[in-house]
Amino acid sequence: MKKIHIGILIGLAVLILFPHFTPRYMTAFLLLLLMHIVIAESYDIVGGHLGYINMGHSAFFGLGAYTFAILLNAKLGFFVSSVLAILAGVLFAALISFPFFRLRGAYFSLATFGLIRLLELLAFNLRSITGGSSGIMIKAEYRLTLAYYFTLGLCVVTVGLIFLLTRSRLGLAWTAIREDEEVAQTFGINTFKHKCVALMISASFASLMGAFYTWYIIFINPKVVFGLEIALVPISMAMLGGSGVIIGPIVGAFFITLVEEFLWTKVPYFHLAAYGIAIVLVGLFMPGGIVRLKWFRKPLMRLGLLED
C-alpha cells in the first residue's frame, strides 16, 4: 500500500473516533467542516470537472432540506424521507438540465444563480407546503453525534465516488466537454447526456446533505437554506482550494472553515472584508486555487493527490 493510502486510513480512523475523545463543540465544528466538504465537492463535479460554473448548487441543498422536513413531519420516517430527498434533488436536476444546459459560460452561471432566488421565493409563497417564512420545525432532539457520523459517511462516499467517476469514461467525457465542447461533440460524445448525468450526481449529494442538515438543526426556513451565505459556500471553497481536482475543494473547505473558526474569533471586526479580500487575491493571482500554487504542487503530486 502506498504511503498516501495508509495516511487516508489513519485519518479516517481518527475521524471515526473523534467524538469519543474530544469536547462536544469540536464535534460540532467538524460536522460543519465535513458538510462544507460535501457541498463543495459535489459542486465541483459540475463546476470543476465538467466546467460549468453552477452558481445555483445550493438550490439542491435547500430542496433536499425542505423535502426531508416536509416528509419527516408527515411521519414517513428518517430513511424514507432521506431517500426521497435525494430523489427530489436528482429529478429537479434532470428537469432543469433541459433548458439550462442550452446556456453557456456566464449566462449559465447567472441563470443558475437566479434559480436559487426563485426557489427561495417559491418557498416563501407556497405557505401551505413549506410553511412560508415561518419555516418548518421537525421534532426537536439532540442529534449531534449521530448527525456527525452520517455526515462523515456521506463525505467519504462523496469523495470516493467522485474519485472513481473521474477515472471512468464518464470523467473522461466531462474533461473533454470542459476543454472544448464543440470538439467533444464532433468526436461523438453525447454532451447533453453527460452534462445531465453530472448535474444529477452533483445534486444527489447536495440534497442528502440538506436532509442531514435539517435533521441536525431541527428548524429551517427559506433564508437559511436558499440564502446567499450558503450559496457562496461551494463556489468560494472549491475555487479557493482548486477547482477541478478532488483535493481542491477539500483544501478550500479546510482553509476557510479553519480560518473562520480560529483566527477570526480573535479579531472582532472585518471578517467579511478579510474573506472578500482573500477571494479577490485568489481571483487575481491564483485562479487555479491553493493546490495549484508552486509551493503545494510538487508535494501534492508526489503524494499522488494531484495530477496534471
Binding site: 460540532a28 412560508g132 417564512s133 428548524f219
Partner: protein, 395 residues
C-alpha cells in the same frame, strides 16, 4: 473541665476548617455564556450588543458583583460572548463550547426566535438554564423544554395593546393590515388580524408582502381605494421606511399609520413626515420603572442610542432577570436557578416580569407615538407620558 475545653476547641477548629473549605469552593466569578449576531443578517439589529454585555458586566462589577447567599459574598460576573454570524449551526456550536469547554454557569440566549430554536436544544441537553432574549415564537414553548425561559409574551400578542387602545377610543371602523413575509411579522399579523376582527373592526386588507420588496406603489394604490381609517404595517425599518415614504408621497392619508418596530432611523428617514405615526415599544423614556438610569448609561457607554436599537431594552431586562434569578436563588446550582427563573417575579425597566407555565413571559410592548421627533408612550393611562393624537392632523 479540661476535656470540655479541648472538645470545644477542637470543634471550633474543625468548624473553621470546614468554613474555609466551603469558601474555598466558591467560584472566582460567575460565568455567563452566549452568542450575539455581531455579523450577518441580524447585525443591523443587535450587532453592537456584545459591547452592551461588556458594559453591563462592568456596571455590575463596579457594584461588587452579584450577591450569592451560598458563598455569603458578592461574586463578579464575566461574559463570554461569541459571534454566531446570524447562523443557527454556528450558534449551536458555540453554545456547546460555552457549556463544555468554558464551563459557564448560566446561558443567555442569542437574538431572536430563529436562532433560539437550535441554541435552546443545547441548554436542554446539557441541563443548564438559558435566559432567552427576544425569543417569542409560540413554537419555542410547545416543545416542553424545561431549561429555557423568555421574558416576552408570545410574538403574536405584540399589537394587542395598540388595538385595545383603538377600541377604547372608539374612533376607528376600517383597518388595512399587512406585513412583511418573515417569521416574526407574519405571526404578529395573523394574531393582530384575528384580534382586530374580535374587536369588531372591519379589516379591509390582510396581505403579506415579500420581505425585500422596495416599491409599494401598487399596494398603496389598492389601499387608497379601500379608504381605511388606520393603515397597519407590521415589519422592520427596511420594509416600512420605503412604504411610509411612498405612501406619503402618493397621497395616502389615513387617520393614522401604525408601523411595527419603529426606531430612530425611521424618524430620520422620514423627517417631519414621521410625526404622529404610531407603534409599540418595549421601553420609552417616559417609563418610571427601576433601573432606568443604569440602562441609559449602559446604552450610552456602548455607543448607541436606545431608540436606534430598541432591542437593547429587551436585552437589558433579560440581564436584570438573570441577576435577579441568581440573587433570589442564592446559589449557582443549575436546578435551583432554573426553578427560580420559571417562578421569578420582579419589576424590570419595562415593567413587571413573571412567567407562564410553558416558559414564556408576560411582557408585551406598549403603544407609542412619534410626536415632534420623539417617542412618547400613549397607553395605558397609568404609564403613559403623553396623549394619543388621533386623527393625524394632515396639512
Amino acid at each position: 473541665m479540661k476535656r470540655k475545653f479541648f472538645i470545644s476547641l477542637l470543634s471550633l477548629v474543625l468548624l473553621l476548617l470546614a468554613t474555609t473549605l466551603v469558601c474555598a469552593q466558591a467560584p472566582k466569578e460567575i460565568l455567563i455564556g452566549g452568542t450575539i449576531s455581531v455579523t450577518g443578517r441580524f447585525s443591523t439589529i443587535v450587532g453592537p450588543f456584545k459591547k452592551l454585555a461588556e458594559t453591563w458586566e462592568k456596571q455590575v462589577n463596579d457594584r461588587g458583583g452579584i450577591f450569592v447567599k451560598e458563598y455569603n459574598k458578592k461574586l463578579p460576573i464575566r461574559f463570554i460572548i461569541e459571534d454566531d454570524k446570524s447562523d443557527q449551526a454556528t450558534s449551536q456550536k458555540y453554545y456547546e463550547k460555552l457549556v463544555t469547554s468554558d464551563k459557564v454557569h448560566i446561558l443567555i440566549g442569542p437574538f431572536g426566535s430563529f436562532l433560539s430554536f437550535a441554541a435552546s436544544t443545547v441548554a436542554e441537553k446539557e441541563k443548564i438554564p438559558m435566559v432567552m432574549v427576544c425569543a417569542s415564537d409560540k413554537r419555542l414553548f410547545e416543545r416542553g423544554y424545561k431549561y429555557s425561559v423568555s421574558q416576552l409574551d408570545y410574538a403574536d400578542y405584540e399589537g394587542y395593546l395598540y388595538l385595545e387602545m383603538l377600541k377604547k377610543e372608539g374612533k376607528v371602523k376600517k383597518i388595512a393590515m399587512f406585513s412583511e413575509d418573515t417569521l416574526h411579522s407574519t405571526g404578529h399579523l395573523k394574531a393582530a388580524v384575528a384580534k382586530a376582527k374580535e374587536y369588531g373592526f372591519d379589516v379591509v386588507l390582510n396581505e403579506t408582502l415579500p420581505p425585500d420588496i422596495k416599491d409599494f406603489s401598487a399596494l398603496i394604490t389598492k389601499i387608497k381605494g379601500l379608504g381605511p381609517d388606520v393603515v397597519y404595517c407590521e415589519g422592520f425599518p427596511s420594509f416600512e421606511i420605503p412604504f411610509l415614504k411612498q405612501a406619503l408621497e402618493l397621497g395616502l392619508r389615513p387617520k393614522e399609520f401604525y408601523a411595527g418596530h419603529l426606531t430612530k432611523p425611521v424618524i430620520d428617514a422620514l423627517g417631519a413626515m414621521s410625526n404622529h405615526i404610531a407603534g409599540v415599544a418595549y421601553w420609552v423614556p417616559g417609563f418610571k420603572f427601576p433601573g432606568k438610569e443604569d440602562y441609559l448609561s449602559a446604552v450610552k457607554t456602548t455607543g448607541i442610542t436606545w431608540d436606534g436599537y430598541m432591542e437593547s431594552a429587551i436585552r437589558y431586562f433579560s440581564y436584570q432577570a438573570l441577576e435577579n434569578a441568581i440573587e433570589t436563588a442564592g446559589s449557582l446550582d443549575r436546578e435551583k436557578l432554573m426553578d427560580v427563573l420559571r417562578k421569578q417575579k420582579f419589576t424590570s425597566i419595562s415593567g413587571p416580569i413573571s412567567h407562564k407555565a410553558d416558559g414564556s413571559g408576560t411582557i408585551i410592548p406598549l403603544p407609542i407615538q412619534i410626536q415632534d421627533g420623539k417617542f412618547v408612550s400613549v397607553y395605558p393611562a397609568d404609564v403613559a407620558d403623553g396623549k394619543h393624537i388621533f386623527p393625524t392632523p394632515w396639512k
